[in-house]
């Protein structure tokens, strides 16, 4: 993990002092709400339906156990004892007071966290593969590059007032686990024919009301030019992105209206003009940052095959969990493990303070004191020795977190929705629970297999419903909450935007509709065929017919 030194901390402390002054000026009227709003957004503070919400940055999803305990304390002292993990690997607290925000930022800074640029028309948290540094299929560890991008983008003076928000994601695995195709800039680490490592740069992806899949800007960018090239892209966007219409202000609209070739030419010209003045990192600084992300030295692991087999036979829950929640590691004796924050009766992605503390302890005991927040609103603990899995699982169960949902229908992504959010048209959380109840038999969920179901409460698509096998979008039909269903989206390197299959449903009818889709799949699928592949093979018609009886 990156270790903050006194200079990094100086920035955090001066930033929270700056915000303290800004809050004071707002409260005494020296700043109007219009002037204050972008400033508070750039410190992560939204005014939501019931209260202010604070979005704390978890840079590229990496947390130390100390930081997680610190977040738990904040939940207890300043909020209602819980937090919500988001699709951008951040955490949100829903019941914050404006007057407490400066103290909270100071407290965050004391364990090297912050809320800088988690909202506003600026560069947001750079996200990545939650298995980064532990994955078995990486070209290189992307975390160091994420930290380099974080530093470059933090309080960058030219890009604090962009036409709209800007999101960057980095992936380095053979499979894209960071949804780079749906980001404003996606960076995929690749090797060229000389074995040199660089970035395949994609631009113009996004969700929202106009979902788009990112296009290739350059297939290979040498790593040493990452920052100057990013700067060229941001400069073109800042100068040319639309500012007349909020809904047409993202870079995806600019790229589409210009065409990718013309856009690429603009970026390349800009990049050449910037030589010498842009921010490629000095080699020494690059090495200093990347040195924090060397692979951990892991103690040799005993062969655990026999004991795991034994436990699986003894414990149905453990058997299910082993089958579902583990990820291969570059070290054959180790794994990374998903902690499912998805259960019947709880909002997806929420965790209580006690649960956060338990997870911090578990990460210390069995891992390297490190945790990852996933795009799917779960936690991953990397670097677990296989021989420790039975005890690891037992501790998770004791903490109430032994769910084996990773990738299954119960692993829903849901935005906070109308229960919390000012922008929403419909509630997503009660529906998520109703659907979970509809599929409450864990054997059934396991039989269905991998199925990504995402629920967004409005067109802003914060739950990435466009990139789901089954996407659900809440709409407002004459004041009543209704839900549109789409099929066939995908978030990885095979990125696809889901298609709406028909008229919307009332909330009470949605679970049965999902049941109909699943039933159609189970009847039609070939042996071992995933839901996503089945849709590709048989198309939408059988599913449409099942729901609307048009067959």
């Amino acid at each position: 993990m990156y270790q903050y030194d006194r200079l990094d901390r100086q920035l955090l402390n001066s930033r929270s002092a700056q915000f303290r002054d800004q809050v004071a000026r707002r409260l005494d009227g020296r700043l109007t709400e219009d002037e204050f709003k972008p400033l508070r957004l750039q410190n992560g503070l939204y005014l939501q339906l019931h209260a202010y919400m604070l979005r704390v940055a978890i840079p590229y999803g990496v947390l130390s156990s100390l930081q997680l305990r610190g977040l738990a304390q904040i939940a207890r002292e300043f909020d209602r004892g819980f937090g919500h993990f988001t699709t951008r690997q951040n955490i949100q607290f829903n019941w914050i007071k404006l007057v407490d925000a400066p103290d909270i930022l100071d407290r965050l800074a004391s364990f090297d966290l912050h809320a800088i640029q988690t909202s506003g028309n600026c560069i947001r948290n750079t996200t990545t593969d939650p298995l980064a540094g532990a994955a078995h299929d990486e070209i290189a560890n992307p975390l160091g590059w994420c930290e380099i991008i974080r530093q470059w983008s933090t309080l960058h003076p030219e890009f604090a007032f962009l036409p709209r928000k800007f999101k960057i994601a980095v992936s380095a695995g053979a499979t894209d686990r960071a949804a780079t195709a749906f980001h404003d800039i996606g960076l995929r680490m690749v090797k060229n024919s000389s074995g040199e490592i660089g970035f395949w740069v994609l631009v113009g992806g996004g969700q929202g009301r106009t979902p788009r899949i990112a296009q290739t800007l350059t297939p290979f960018l040498p790593t040493r030019h990452l920052l100057s090239y990013l700067e060229a892209i941001l400069r073109v966007y800042n100068a040319a992105g639309r500012r007349d219409n909020l809904h047409k202000a993202r870079i995806k609209i600019l790229v589409e209206s210009m065409g990718i070739s013309e856009f690429a030419e603009l970026v390349n010209t800009q990049w050449l003009n910037m030589q010498g003045s842009a921010h490629d990192l000095p080699a020494g600084e690059q090495a200093r940052i990347l040195a924090h992300f060397e692979p951990p030295s892991l103690r040799p692991a005993a062969d655990a095959g026999e004991s795991i087999r034994r436990y699986r036979l003894q414990d149905r829950g453990f058997d299910r969990w082993i089958g579902q929640n583990l990820h291969p590691h570059w070290h054959p004796g180790y794994v990374s493990a998903t902690v499912s924050l998805k259960q019947n009766g709880r909002p997806p992605g929420d965790a209580s303070a006690a649960e956060m503390i338990a997870l911090a302890d578990i990460a210390d005991t069995y891992g390297r004191g490190e945790l990852r927040v996933t795009y799917t609103q779960n936690i991953i603990i990397p670097h677990i020795a296989r021989q420790d899995l039975p005890k690891f699982y037992a501790d998770l169960v004791a903490a109430g977190l032994g769910g084996a949902e990773d990738g299954l229908i119960g692993d829903m992504i849901a935005c906070p929705g109308l229960d919390y959010c000012n922008l929403a048209n419909a509630r997503s959380l009660p529906l998520a629970d109703r659907i979970f109840t509809h599929f409450k038999d864990p054997d059934l969920r396991q039989e269905i297999g991998r199925l990504r179901l995402n629920i967004s409460g409005c067109i802003n698509a914060c739950a990435h419903h466009h990139a789901a096998d089954i996407g659900i979008l809440g709409v407002n039909k004459k004041g009543v909450e209704h839900f549109q269903i789409s099929l066939g989206g995908a978030a990885g390197e095979d990125a696809a935007i889901g298609k709406i299959i028909g008229p919307s449903f009332a909330e009470a009818d949605v679970p049965a509709a999902i049941g109909g889709l699943v039933h159609t799949y189970l009847k039609a699928r070939h042996e071992g065929e995933l839901f996503a592949d089945c849709i590709r093979r048989i198309g939408h018609d059988p599913f449409r017919d099942a729901l609307y009886g048009t067959g």
């Binding site: 200079l7 990094d8 100086q10 920035l11 001066s14 930033r15 002092a17 700056q18 002054d21 800004q22 000026r25 020296r30 700043l31 002037e35 972008p38 400033l39 028309n121 530093q151 470059w152 933090t154 309080l155 960058h156 003076p157 030219e158 890009f159 604090a160 007032f161 962009l162 036409p163 400069r235 800042n238 100068a239 500012r243 800009q270 003009n273 910037m274 003045s277 921010h279 000095p282 600084e285």
Partner: protein, 146 residues
């Protein structure tokens, strides 16, 4: 972003600012006298070519609203790509909290409301270290570690 055949002319600055406004020096945090004239640009202006501004001492960039960040790109472009070395003034709707961003993008001055002078002075020193190593940036992280 640079058009070679644009007509460039100097204009008086008096018409572009409120008579009560002060000219705040972003380097010294003090107030100075207004220049009489200069090249007046707006945030969506195309940056002039270097030979067109060879004899110009002062350029002002007007922000229609403080959230229109194109002025920062234009300012930085004028300094780093076109090589402008004269006075670069930010006018229009700007707020004290932008002081550091303006300064680091190459603005030398800002037109401010007199009652906000203290806020601008405080704002200039709010953040004491930066990650990006901009030219003449003694506060950058890299400057401090070398």
């Amino acid at each position: 972003m640079v058009q070679a055949d644009m007509m460039i002319g100097e204009q008086t600055l008096a018409g572009r600012v409120e008579s009560s406004q002060l000219l705040f020096d972003l380097a010294t945090a003090g107030c100075v006298a207004w220049p009489v004239s200069g090249l007046c640009l707006v945030t969506d202006s195309i940056a002039p070519a270097s030979k067109q501004i060879a004899r110009i001492d002062t350029i002002s960039i007007e922000f229609p609203v403080f959230s229109d960040g194109r002025g920062f790109t234009l300012g930085r472009c004028l300094r780093t790509e076109i090589g402008f070395t004269g006075a670069l003034i930010a006018l229009g709707h700007i707020i004290p909290d932008q002081a550091i961003f303006l300064f680091r993008c190459g603005f030398s001055h800002a037109a401010i409301k007199p009652e906000q002078l203290a806020q601008w002075q405080t704002a200039l020193n709010a953040i004491t270290i930066y990650y990006q190593h901009m030219p003449a940036s003694a506060r950058s992280r890299q400057a401090k570690t070398h």
